[in-house]
Symmetry: D2
Subunit: 252 residues, 4 copies
């Protein structure tokens, strides 16, 4: 048995730091690296990519709406042609930096509001898919497990990877519980670790109402934006390994 662990990295900007990339690169098998639109300056990104290369961690392009002050978290009504070109630009930029760092980009994970929007929205989803296909159709798209975007991407010829979130509650139908609702985010490291072991081993996760849910996930997203988050991610990693579930990149 095996699964991928991914985390959002390279999210500093100039003099500003965010998270502990070095610590997380010892935990995850795949790094979603910012591309400059919501976070990440070239020099900082290059350093994160060099660290990822040294540890053999797979690299994905964490593409975003162009909204640095909003950290890519604010929905934007971007035209399809703009979005496609924005995705191409960001992937290309990260590919250049990855090449310089001795590694390469193997997948694309949209960030924040773009991630959430394209899970369901066909117009923006197709624009993102078109951007990926135009740069390199061998790139894998990482998206929300169970969401329509994965089917659309597969239909367009892309390989896809379904992602689950370690610290988020799920509805009985497999959607994430909205962050605006109580209990949406889980804070108990042991509970989170147990849930992820079960997910990886059995393909099952307990929903917020206590029912169980089939969820096919190839990768688990863990966070590193606080010391507590790093510890939770490390705890999840350890629990998986204790159950002899290998943590390996999904990407080829």
């Amino acid at each position: 048995m095996q699964i991928d662990l991914n985390s959002d990295l390279g999210e500093g900007y100039g003099a500003w730091r965010m998270g502990d990339d070095a610590a997380m690169l010892d935990i995850v098998s795949s790094a979603n690296v910012a591309c400059g639109f919501h976070a990440g300056d070239p020099r900082g990104l290059l350093e994160t990519l060099q660290q990822a290369a040294r540890r053999g961690v797979a690299v994905g392009a964490h593409v975003s709406y162009p909204d640095r002050v909003g950290f890519g978290r604010r929905p934007m009504d971007v035209a399809a042609q703009e979005l496609t070109a924005d995705v191409i630009y960001q992937i290309g930029a990260l590919q250049g930096l990855a090449r310089a760092a001795g590694t390469r980009v193997t997948y694309v994970k949209p960030h924040g509001a773009l991630y959430n929007t394209i899970a369901e929205d066909a117009r923006q989803g197709d624009a993102v898919i078109a951007g990926i296909v135009a740069v390199d159709p061998a790139l894998v798209l990482m998206g929300l497990a169970g969401a329509p975007i994965l089917d659309r991407a597969r239909a367009a010829g892309l390989r896809v990877v379904a992602e689950a979130f370690a610290d988020r509650a799920y509805t009985p139908s497999g959607a994430l519980v909205s962050r605006r609702l109580p209990g949406a985010v889980l804070h108990d490291p042991d509970l989170v670790a147990d849930r992820m072991v079960r997910l990886a081993a059995e393909g099952v996760i307990e929903a917020a109402d206590g029912s169980t849910l089939q969820l096919q996930a190839d990768s688990i997203c863990v966070h590193g934006d606080s010391p507590g988050a790093v510890q939770m991610a490390a705890r999840t990693r350890q629990a998986l390994r204790d159950r002899r579930i290998a943590i390996v990149p999904f990407a080829p």
Copy 2:
């Protein structure tokens, strides 16, 4: 006999236009395409690259300091590591867009204040060279004919291309007359065309004091940022062809 004609293109930004890319792509053999740091948004750049691809015009990455409001024209004291990473990021972004447009980046021409600074400044020049080498050592560096940067790049293993400026006056030693001095910029299309024919045919240009100067140039820069500029560029192109000097990209 042959020579390359190049021009700065893709210099709009969002709703703002600059120059007439379509007209210039019918005149030049090489397009220095902005990379987003001084000008160029992804969608507009993609369109310019698609037009260049259709016409078989070679594409160069017109990398800049990160200074959009100053259009990359203001000297900045950027640290070497920052500059190297900025160059990599910009080349990568344009490579991604070029791939999507069915073409590829074959050379790099620094823009504006960066171009002028690295002509002489070894620290920034070496940082730019390091960025190019890190992305792809097969990329050609275009620089000011006669300037030390060309030797430094050659020593680092890069192929270089020496550039002359169609509408600029030269000092007897081969430098450009400063824009702050009268007569620095030439406005007579016939005079400009005659000078460029002589340069291409004989490797000679008349300096501002009337003396003649040996100048080895592989490419001639023409501008397209006004209707008059486009006409001057077209006039130069015609004069070269009338003398059976082929206008072809230098790049492989």
Copy 3:
């Protein structure tokens, strides 16, 4: 009889020009001046404000979402506290420049997607109102004639000004015909001028279906982003004056 004519000015950015501010300042009585978020760099804005001051044209803050590459035309889901602070920042910046130019900001007109969103959306509308009140409750809010935002602003204690668009078709209920529909934008200068004279004189405008509509408007928006637009604006001005309708700022 009198009416105000307004236009969007100061919309260049650095090396990029847009429209002909000098020409429009001879036509309008009120200038909606960009504040840097969708367009306008400080130096260019200062020049526009100096020209407005010399001609006695009233100055409004043309506040926007923070989206320069999208020219403020893309809807964004900005949190209320962010939007309020963004509005305050922009008004303050323009007030500083206006003071330096010997004039002052008397009103606020939201730009582009923000203008359209707050016409109906109470959450964003209230956030904009809160920003204006926090800086200076004597500032006037300019908004779409007939839209709910005007009532909300009045209820918050602001003076408001209702605006009509010279070159736009109206639905029978007084809304603007969507730009996605044919006929949404009018191109005949004489027709536009006649409509605006009737609007100013009788408070009536003909809707797209031929019916007539009562529309109370204190100000008419004209555009200056093309030579044809400037001519149309001048034609409207002349038609109003021919009918002895004075063109004067609404602002105190």
Copy 4:
């Protein structure tokens, strides 16, 4: 006896935090608040200004070159007219936010590379002075104690405040020891506190070579960008108060 303590605040940006503004506002009497060009988003700035207002801490505009990714630390060759307008824009924006927060801007302290450049450079210095005078000639300019900029500002009619740096070594002539040299930055809180008490009480500071130096300073800059820095600032504050040196804003 009395002196002012100042610190750079409001230096977060969107999701990125920097320093502990709340802690520093309990220590200092004057807050140099970022204006958005090197740091500071409107919402975060508004919160910092509200906290400063509640504590009665004086507010200065910490104006910068437009270089967010470089945090305003990189020298830029900005034209005088651009710099003047940039200064006006930033002061105005902070004035608007300060008004909304129930306080006001009483002084201007240029930031980072701009601070260092104008200490000596007359062209850029005069451009900054012109910007301040244009917005409000009652604003005080804070500058490096002993530097020519203070005389130039006084000659232009501005009130000035001379500033010393708590954690920096001085040359025998009163300049700061370059950060590139060993010993440029002091790390011993007790040593720093003792030096500042002596400076406030006697107008004397020990230079790096052991000689003593007359230095007239109205304000002492302390930093808050790390837990250690906050402690050092608190230690300096306590040492001054133990010697009955009041810590009060210089500004009217």
